[in-house]
Every structure is written in structure tokens, then in C-alpha cells.
């Protein structure tokens, strides 16, 4: 419990706010570090250990088997296609949701999060129903490369929409009005004013979507299946586990893990880039806390001091 409840924060160390209830800060830090280590870091370390347990040579061999490479290629290319498509459609949807009015807008806004909320295996199932052997539309792309793309489109759509939406909401409309008063037409305004300001957030959303696409499993499993040509890396890893090749599975997993970490780094970079010209988001980015786009909520408004003379 607090020894000196009336003490105001000392100016020298900007000790903002309260002390954690009942615990010291040190204890809290210990708890957080322990929790993260136990839940996240140790398992990943164990996996990395396993991947190298038979030496670097084996690691390399496992990662470069024909199927491993085929799966990796499929995964990468499909993911790239998907984020490109969803980059465009996601932006369009964010635009419609923020700037346009149409019936059922609130419902559509909610439905965007469906891929977030729906279990991936169910997604796989419902995609098979619409685009598989019994498709009412007569389109059967089950167990093809196209199926991979469609499944990934499904699960990554919310990432881009929710990354762009807050930016559009927060965007200073007066910049657009100023551009109009200077003679810029609609498309010019989008190209030179709106888009450059969206770009960092869009890039962050795309990077996150890409990371998700690379590792996606449930939605691809039933829909794209496990043929050599339609097997994404995550399905391949599972196959390796089932055939008892734990080292191989670990090796390929490490490759995916490294890609994930790299992408997360990119996301942080893009967000810092985006806050270069702002002051409000600069505070959160500078705090080292990444702001993950999760849903269409308004971004936290920190107090802006306008008058700085």
C-alpha cells in the first residue's frame, strides 16, 4: 500500500500516475516477464532448439526439400497477391465506411470483423460450400491454388480496413478543402493529399495482413487441401509433425517465425514513419507502444496543443 498517498509526482522523473495496486512495480514487471517467458518465449526457444538439434546442415536440408520450397513459394506468392488485392479493396471499403452514407452501413461495418470473430475452420467450411463441389454458383475451386488465395482474402480483409479506417476518420478535412480551393479536383486530392497521409497506416496494415496470410492454417486446410501443389507452409509443417519429423517441422517453423518477426518490425517502422509529421500519434509511437489496428474504433486522441509560439 502507498506510504505517501498525498505525494505528487516528482517533476524530475515524470513518474506519471499511480503505483500498481498491492504490488510494487518491480513485482509487476517480474510477473509480466515470467508470464511472457512461460507462455511465449520458452516454447519458441524450445522449438528453435529442436530445429538445430541435428545441426545446421540438417536444418538447411529440411528447409530446402522440394515440397518445403514448393509450399513456401505458394505461400509467399499467394500472400503477396492477397495483400495487393485486399490493399485496394480494403481501402475502398474503409473509404465507403467513413465518407459515404448508405443503408445498413452499421451492419456492414460490423460484418467486416467476421473473419476476426469466426473460427478459421468454419471459414474453410463455408468457403467450400460456396466455391466447392456443391457450389450453387457452379464455381469449383476447391483444392486448387485459387482456393488458397480466396481463403487468405477472407481472413486478411479486416486488417487493411481497420488499419485505414481510423486514419480516414482522423484526417483533417480542411486539408482537402484547402486543396480544392487551390484548384485540385477529386482525384488529385486523393492522390496528393489523402493517399500520402494514409500510406504509412496502410503499409502497416498490409504488413500485418501479410504476416497473417503467411501463417494461416485453418481456413486453408479444408478448402485448399493438402495436395503437393496446394499445400501451404503451415499445412506442410503439420504433415511433418504427423510423420514424426519434428526437426523438419521445427526448421520450417523457424523460417516462418523469422518472417513474422521481420514483418512485425516493418509494421513498427511504418507506424513511426506515419507519425513523423504528426504530434498526437508521435506520443504513442515514441512511447514505444505499437498501436495495432484491430477494429474501426476512433484512434485515441491525445491532447494537441495548438498554440505554440
Amino acid at each position: 500500500m502507498e506510504a505517501n498517498p498525498a505525494a505528487l509526482p516528482t517533476p524530475s522523473r515524470a513518474r506519471a500516475g499511480i503505483r500498481l495496486p498491492g504490488l510494487g512495480v518491480g513485482l509487476a514487471r517480474g510477473y509480466v516477464v515470467l508470464y511472457l517467458s512461460l507462455i511465449v518465449l520458452l516454447p519458441l526457444a524450445a522449438m528453435t532448439d529442436q530445429s538445430l538439434s541435428e545441426g545446421l546442415g540438417t536444418f538447411w536440408d529440411q528447409v530446402t526439400t522440394p515440397q518445403a520450397l514448393r509450399s513456401l513459394e505458394l505461400t509467399l506468392i499467394a500472400s503477396l497477391i492477397v495483400v495487393a488485392i485486399n490493399g485496394v479493396f480494403g481501402t475502398i471499403l474503409a473509404w465507403l465506411l467513413v465518407r459515404d452514407e448508405f443503408p445498413c452501413k452499421a451492419a456492414i461495418n460490423a460484418v467486416i470483423d467476421l473473419p476476426f470473430a469466426l473460427p478459421t475452420i468454419v471459414a474453410s467450411l463455408i468457403l467450400i460450400q460456396l466455391w466447392g463441389p456443391n457450389s450453387p454458383l457452379g464455381v469449383d475451386i476447391a483444392v486448387t491454388k485459387a482456393a488458397v488465395v480466396v481463403a487468405l482474402l477472407f481472413v486478411t480483409l479486416p486488417f487493411v480496413v481497420r488499419a485505414v479506417q481510423p486514419l480516414l476518420i482522423e484526417m483533417d478535412r480542411e486539408m482537402e478543402e484547402a486543396a480544392a480551393s487551390l484548384g485540385a479536383g477529386g482525384f488529385t486530392i486523393f492522390r496528393r493529399i489523402i493517399f500520402p497521409n494514409l500510406l504509412p497506416g496502410l503499409a502497416a496494415g498490409v504488413a500485418l495482413a501479410f504476416a497473417r496470410a503467411l501463417g494461416e492454417f485453418g481456413s486453408v486446410l479444408l478448402f485448399a487441401g493438402g495436395l503437393p501443389d496446394t499445400m501451404v507452409s503451415s499445412v506442410y509443417i503439420r504433415q511433418l509433425i504427423e510423420t514424426g519429423n519434428e526437426t523438419g517441422a521445427a526448421a520450417v517453423s523457424v523460417v516462418l517465425l523469422l518472417a513474422s518477426v521481420a514483418l512485425l518490425g516493418l509494421v513498427t517502422l511504418f507506424q513511426r514513419w506515419g507519425s513523423r509529421h504528426e504530434r498526437s500519434t508521435a506520443t504513442s509511437a515514441a512511447a514505444g507502444v505499437t498501436v495495432m489496428p484491430l477494429s474501426g474504433e476512433e484512434p485515441a486522441k491525445t491532447r494537441e496543443d495548438d498554440e505554440r509560439e
Binding site: 486539408m175 484547402a178 485540385a184 488529385t188 509560439e309
Partner: protein, 346 residues
């Protein structure tokens, strides 16, 4: 390029922002749209720019009806209260934006941008980003940006509202000088009557979506057409039906039929003027503006009783405002006629 607006009406849902508004802005003038929040002044300005569409009525620029023209084509320069700087572009790119999209060649843009940056005293800051500038600098950049494309008309929406007092005063002077040099028809919106009177040659006072009165600062101050204008433009005391300016309120030690009794509540020295606050017998609070020598001569203290005489007063019963002047003669005066008090600059 003169501007005129006729029969303008605009509502936002239930709220009527403009109610049959008509104004005339002569070519080359510097006009202020003055009024409290919600008076419709910003809406009117934005309607002139094309950023709002009128429900009915028309906007004419240089005799041409532009009501159906989009903003892009109206050639109006617009300056926003919060600058609307293009955050992702440098100062140079901001100012040059209008020229760039008109596909002017690089050298011409370069020359013009630097010319304007010198004009607005932002020389040397061309490569900075708006977030690196102070508020006053950003606003000057916004002005340079608007002027770069040589607009017919310059519209400023509470341009100094987001700045603090000292900067506001400096930029005010600076705007007037700029206008003297460039002679572009300029309209600016403000709620600050001092600012309007200081800068503009014509004031349009608005309230509740209507134009109350327009004219020069002097005209509005001396001959306000109604109670609202009188109280908005300059300070005013109200005694019954009469409205008296504080500097028209004479304070004397001896009573007579023309005076009213009041007790001194507070004496405040505000810079060069002294403000003596009184409460009258019926509870009305009034204040009189005095000079230091008057204060000393009268030897006024808080709690004392003194007598107040309106030298000039206006009342607005019915349509036409009427004036009345103090009946008594100031001591020592030869005239015996009307006592004239010079209006002190407010």
C-alpha cells in the same frame, strides 16, 4: 473583383444558419464578417468559397453568378482557422501546390514560392515541415499558399483564432499592410470586434443567421441600428431603455435632475483607462470610463456615492434608433448647448 450575395439561405437539419442574407463587398476592400458563434458568418464565407452549397440564393463574383461552380473553379484563396497545412509536404511544397497542379514549370514555381515566402517573412524555412513551425508561422504559410495562385478573392475563416494574443495583434497589423500592398478583395470572419474594427474598412455584423448592419467601423459604432449591434461593437451600459457608452457616462459629485445616483463598487485600472463600476439604486450595474486625472479630481473611492450623467444615449424603441443627449452643461462651458463628448477609441 467585387462580391455580392443575394437572398442566401442555408440550414443544417433543423438549424437555420443563414436566413435571407445579402451583402455587398466592393472590389479591393477588406471586409470583416463579425458576429458571435452560430451567427452564420463562417457558413456565409464557406458558401462564397463553394465549400457549402446554399439552399437558395446566389453568390456573384465580379458580376458572375458562381453559385453552381465547384470550389476548384472559383479561384478563391481560402485560409482556415487551423491552417489546414499539408502535413506531409514541406513549406515549399505547400506554397507551391496550387502552381504544381496547374502544371507550371519548375522555375516559375520556384521563383513565385520564394517571392511569397519573402513576403510573408518565412524566408529560409522552405524545407521545414509544418509540424516544425509555430502557429503564427503556419498561418503565414497558409496565406502564402493561398496567394500563390493569384486568387480573385481572399477568404479567411477566423485566421487568428488559434493563436495567442500577442501573435494575433502582430498578424492583424501585418494582414492590413499586406492588403494595402496587394489590394485583393478580402473577406475575413471574426468574433473579435476589436480585430474587425482595427483591420477592416467595412464591417458586416451578423447574428442568428441574419445581417444586422454593415458599414464602416465608425458608422457602426456611432450609429448602430439596433441593440445587438450597439452591444456587440463597443461596450455599452443599459439604463432602462437607454444605451450609453461608458465613455459617454459622465461622473459628477453633485446631483441634479439629469443625474442618477450610484455607488462605486470597484475601480479598476486597465492600462491607460480607468474603469469605475457602479451599482444604481434599482440594482442595475453600469460602468464609466474615466481618465486618471478625472479619477483624481473626483477623488472616487469604493463604497462612495456619486452621480452619473449620460452625455449621449441611444434607445431602440420601434424601428428607428433615437438619440438623446445630456441636458446639463458641463461646468465652465460657454455653450449652454449640447455637450459633445468625443468618442474615445475602443
Amino acid at each position: 473583383m467585387g462580391i455580392s450575395v443575394e437572398g442566401a439561405n442555408k440550414s443544417f437539419g433543423d438549424f437555420q444558419a443563414l436566413n435571407d442574407v445579402a451583402i455587398e463587398v466592393p472590389d479591393g476592400s477588406l471586409t470583416a464578417l463579425l458576429g458571435p458563434s452560430g451567427s452564420g458568418k463562417s457558413t456565409l464565407l464557406r458558401a462564397i468559397a463553394g465549400l457549402e452549397t446554399l439552399d437558395s440564393g446566389s453568390v456573384l463574383i465580379d458580376g458572375e453568378d458562381v453559385s453552381t461552380k465547384p470550389t476548384q473553379k472559383r479561384e478563391v484563396g481560402f485560409v482556415f482557422q487551423h491552417y489546414a497545412a499539408f502535413k506531409h509536404m514541406t513549406v515549399y511544397e505547400n506554397v507551391g501546390f496550387g502552381l504544381k497542379i496547374r502544371k507550371e514549370d519548375k522555375q516559375k514555381i520556384n521563383a513565385r514560392v520564394h517571392e511569397l515566402l519573402d513576403l510573408v517573412q518565412l524566408h529560409g524555412l522552405a524545407d521545414r515541415y509544418p509540424s516544425q513551425l509555430s502557429g503564427g508561422q503556419r498561418q503565414r504559410m497558409a496565406l502564402a499558399r493561398a496567394l500563390a495562385v493569384e486568387p480573385q478573392v481572399l477568404l479567411l475563416d477566423e485566421p487568428f483564432g488559434a493563436l495567442d494574443a500577442k501573435v494575433r495583434k502582430d498578424l492583424r497589423t501585418w494582414l492590413r499592410r499586406l492588403h494595402d500592398e496587394m489590394h485583393v478583395t478580402t473577406i475575413f470572419v471574426t468574433h473579435d470586434q476589436e480585430e474587425a474594427m482595427d483591420v477592416a474598412n467595412q464591417l458586416v455584423v451578423m447574428n442568428d443567421g441574419r445581417v444586422e448592419q454593415s458599414g464602416t467601423a465608425g458608422e457602426l459604432y456611432e450609429q448602430p441600428s439596433n441593440e445587438f449591434v450597439m452591444s456587440f461593437v463597443g461596450e455599452v451600459n443599459r439604463i432602462g431603455d437607454a444605451f450609453v457608452r461608458p465613455h459617454d457616462m459622465e461622473v459628477v459629485r453633485d446631483a441634479d435632475q439629469s443625474t442618477v445616483e450610484g455607488m462605486v463598487q470597484r475601480i479598476v485600472a486597465l492600462g491607460f483607462e480607468i474603469r469605475a463600476e457602479f451599482v444604481l439604486g434599482d440594482g442595475t450595474e453600469v460602468w464609466a470610463q474615466l481618465t486618471r486625472s478625472e479619477l483624481e479630481r473626483l477623488e472616487l473611492r469604493e463604497g462612495q456615492i456619486a452621480y452619473l450623467r449620460p452625455v449621449q444615449a441611444k434607445s431602440f424603441n420601434g424601428e428607428t434608433p433615437s438619440e438623446s443627449q445630456g441636458a446639463s452643461t458641463p461646468p465652465g462651458s460657454e455653450d449652454g448647448g449640447d455637450a459633445e463628448v468625443t468618442a474615445e477609441a475602443v
